[in-house]
């Protein structure tokens, strides 16, 4: 089966800035994204966990977005505008998809 090369952008970000990040992705006209809750982890300031948290601070989520390589830079610029000062990570990787027109 023929596959097509796309870019997968993974953004692990603090929950309080999620809405701003999704607004930016919408502005970059990505065709879609998925938000996944993150349960626990470890970063520069030590371990963290979302267990038992009644508030949003301290919660992390992962946003997964697949886009065409030609549109990667505008997407990353929008993402960077939100996450540059926040806790979190941004990673870009190559992926193969079956339906090129979806992205």
């Amino acid at each position: 089966m023929q596959t097509h090369l796309k870019k997968r952008v993974e953004i692990v970000v603090e929950f309080p800035v999620l809405r701003r990040l999704l607004d930016r992705l919408d502005r970059a006209q990505v065709t879609g994204y998925t938000v996944v809750p993150a349960l626990a982890g470890r970063g520069h300031d030590g371990p963290w966990s979302s267990e038992g948290l009644a508030g949003d601070a301290g919660r992390m989520v992962m946003v997964v977005c697949i886009t065409d390589p030609t549109r990667l830079d505008p997407v990353l610029e929008e993402v960077y505008a939100v996450v540059s000062r926040q806790i979190g990570i941004v990673a870009v990787s190559d992926v193969q998809v079956i339906r090129a027109e979806h992205f």
Partner: protein, 327 residues
């Protein structure tokens, strides 16, 4: 009842003991946990219950000039306390301007769970209090955030650097889920009055204390984890601030309560509001507005130091202070 008797009775209440259980379990690295979704549901339940009951009491008593005065005084305290806290932190600790402002914001805002715990202590002593203090709690959430932003501004290259303006920040803070739930339930309670309260009392009145115990168990677990992981971020002066600042805020609120004519129960809750430190609404606002500020400092201090202090010793002390200024 003397202050010591009140403190001893409070320390042996189920609420404080469940909090202590959670704290001890977390410090001992037990695998006891409350799922995040359950914790959020419990918090929503408590907001609904306390808001509705406050609104129903207003429906019975009506809006008075005294109520307006207490609300305005609460707003003024919420603006002023962060300034005092900021100046103290800058004088006694090596916290950066942004970290000091973020910590100060937590102490100017309020902890609704501390307030709820205090209402249960006051109720347990059969001391009446004004239902509109729920509204005072709601309006004291936000002014402290504005104060902190002004205090931190000189330390920032620009505000809203994560893609948001001050307007969008205020929108997000003002429509924070806990604020919407508290204010919305208060308005529904006000609109439906005692009749409405009677209709849902089996849900929001009878199970209230049991739910509060479960929520405080969770708070103890979160506070214990925070202390375990975050204590290394707190220097001795900052740790001391977590105890001294609520006492200073309580002293200021006691003076502020003098001309307000509150009942002893109302004054105790007003002082408790001023002395409490936020750990739900303000931390999320700080992640938006001052992302350079370290959450390990302000969350650990607010939840791991000030909340246990207020829950165990602070509330009885604030009740004693209220006895000095309320008739």
């Amino acid at each position: 009842m003397s202050l010591l008797e009140l403190a001893a009775q409070n320390l042996l209440s189920p609420m404080v003991l469940f909090f202590a259980l959670g704290l001890a379990a977390a410090l001992a690295r037990s695998d006891l946990t409350v799922p995040e979704a359950v914790a959020k549901t419990l918090a929503l339940y408590l907001m609904l219950s306390i808001g509705f009951k406050g609104g129903a009491e207003i429906a019975a008593s009506g809006v008075t000039a005294r109520m307006v005065g207490v609300v305005l005084m609460g707003i003024a305290l919420s603006f002023a306390i962060p300034v005092i806290g900021f100046l103290i932190l800058r004088a006694v600790s090596r916290l950066s301007r942004v970290d000091a402002a973020a910590v100060a914001a937590h102490y100017g805002s309020i902890s609704i769970v501390t307030f709820i715990a205090a209402t249960e202590v006051v109720r347990g002593q059969n001391i009446p209090f004004e239902g509109y203090l729920v509204a005072v709690a709601a309006v004291m959430e936000t002014p402290a955030i504005l104060s902190a932003l002004l205090l931190a501004r000189k330390g920032q290259e620009r505000s809203g650097g994560n893609g948001g303006s001050l307007g969008s920040l205020l929108h997000e803070v003002g429509l924070n889920g806990s604020v919407v739930m508290l204010v919305g339930s208060f308005l529904i309670g006000w609109a439906t009055g005692q009749k409405g309260l009677g209709m849902i009392a089996p849900f929001i009145v009878d199970p209230f204390r049991g739910v509060l115990c479960l929520f405080l168990l969770d708070m103890g677990l979160v506070a214990g984890r925070g202390m375990r992981e975050g204590a290394r971020h707190l220097s001795p002066p900052v740790l001391g601030f977590g105890i001294v600042m609520p006492l200073l805020s309580a002293a200021l609120a006691t003076l502020a309560a003098l001309p307000l004519g509150l009942s002893p129960g109302g004054a105790a809750l007003f002082i408790t509001l001023a002395a409490s430190a936020s750990y739900i609404a303000v931390p999320a606002a700080m992640r938006l507005a001052l992302p350079e500020a370290k959450p390990a400092i302000y969350l650990t201090l607010s939840l791991g130091v000030t909340f246990p202090f207020n829950l165990s010793l602070g509330i009885p002390l604030y009740m004693a202070l209220a006895g000095l200024v309320a008739g």
